[in-house]
Amino acid sequence: MRKQKALFCAVLIAVAGFAIYSALGWKFKAALFPLTVSIPLAILATVQLVLIVFGKEESAEGAAMDIDFSIDVPPEIARRRVLNTFAWIAAFILLVYLLGFPPTVPLFIFSYLKFQSEISWLSAIVTTAVTWGCFYSLFQWLVHIQFESGAVQTWLGL
């Protein structure tokens, strides 16, 4: 974990470094605020990195005001589930890009319920239909949100 924590700090230092480097090329007015915040950010992240690499292990009371992830699941399974969920999210975004929102909603809901949550065909179809009905009536019919058409429709000239 120490290595990953150090890597996270290194990313923060890189972000701050990039901000400083970019801001140095701007006009004074535009550069003032980003420099004012990115320089101390770089310093604080570096101090944290040094503490991680050379200091003692952090006490549990380090960050008091946020949630903790559950630790009941074995790490290997947890890692697999995390990757799995991020893959579902990425697939959802990819589908929206390819097909647009309206076709993606039923496709995604059905696929997730059937293949990830493993519920019966009938329940998956009924739940998908109800969700699609709610989605259509609320976002398209009532609120009139304009959803972009997907890349596939554009390629096909639809």
């Binding site: 970019s22 535009a30 605020f33 006490s59 960050a63 005001m65 947890a78 995390v82 995604f108 949100i145």
Partner: protein, 503 residues
Amino acid sequence: MFDAFIEGLLLVLQWKAFSLMLVGMALGFFVGLLPGIGGAATLALMLPFVFKMSPAEALAFLLGMHSVAATTGDITSVLFGVPGEAISAATVVDGYPMAKNGEAGRALGAALMSSLLGALIGAVALALAIPIVRPLVLTFGSPELFLLSLVGISCITSLSGSTPRGQLKGFAMGLLGLLVSTVGQERQSGSLRFDMGLMYLWDGLDFVPVLVGIFAIPEIIDLAVRGTSIAGERPAEDLSRGVMQGVKDTFHHFWLVLRCSVIGVFVGILPGAGGGVAQWMAYAHAVQSAKTAKEREGFGKGDVRGVLGPGAANNSKEGGELIPTVAFGVPGSGAMAILLSGFLIMGIMPGPDMLTKHLAITFSMVWTLAIANIITVLLCLLVLNQLAKLTHVRGGLIIPFVLLLVFVGSYTANGQIADLIVTFIFGLFSYFMVLFAWPRPPFVLGFVLGKVIETYLFISVNRYGFTWLTHPIVMLLIVLMAVVIAYPYIQQRRQRAAGAARA
């Protein structure tokens, strides 16, 4: 004055105005539940409908909708960890862990009852403050507002941990939030900053995709990892008792609710600060009110006081925001700016007339805030038990719907696929923040306040050079900031001294 007060009530109770208020409340209820579709955007969408209404009817409709959205925004924050409104983000920090602990009913009861008390206190403040608030608002210029924003960030960062390393992380995250807020075109010089050659970033990053990603994605991932319901394997609580417990908690911590409501009113009065700041300042105050480190331990892990503070401040700030809007025509937030245009559509000119010629209409707003919130909270309390049962539904069945809610909400910000990518990127980043115990609230507050802080800093330096640092209120706020930062250490030392004395 009293006649106008009663006349204001009668204006709201006229059948047409009252019916329109109910319609507005129904709209506000759903808008509050849906992430991304903010109260301000809905106000703008509904403006064309007020042309044919009388001023009292239009204000009942618009204010009824707006005030209810702030109340119901807390519901999704508690149940799914997804802020229904940007101003409900702080409720996630303790509300969602309470749901995970099987106390969803209690958290919802507390959120709604504190919202009601906050709204009533805000309404009373609006009624009382108009004649006396003018000098206060005029005392606060850009330097004072700049420092006040910094005090807000300091409150949160200093409470990010009781150890120096925890605080260091809090400050770093606050600075990162400020840095992320600088993405896009700089207002004074027009220069593009960190735009990566993408036109999408010219206007900067929108609040909704970032906030939803920061708060919702790690919660969804955690739910998927656990493979249980939100409330886990815990036995279903006695839900009705849970809701009533939340209501009792509100009165048990009445003084905290009152103080957080006052914070909400005060922040609401100040132009530009808004609900994003009020909720976090109230949360920070709730944490600081804990006298011992042991009392403070529960925050972030499901302490009801962490729900009560932001709940009260969110709603009291509505009354506060209306004060400068009505009295001087200076809107306290984006939503109030839209409401101001509603005033002009109705032929009402904010300013001294609102305290003389149109006093009854001003009081009708006070009544609308109070009545709309009372009705909403009473109705919500009736259905809360059913809503809380959602936390016992298997996670695998909840996740696709929450994801849908998250991404449709994020998409409504700009109507671009890039909004979804921003949500994903910040969600991923936020996942690592939680994993490595870097606090998210300072980042969010820095991001929300960044543009305002930069503008105030620029105006202060341009207008006063560096002499603004010697303004009495500025100096007072600098001292306050130092006290806020040092407070956890002072508290720790006191406890050690007390412990040593006992030993």
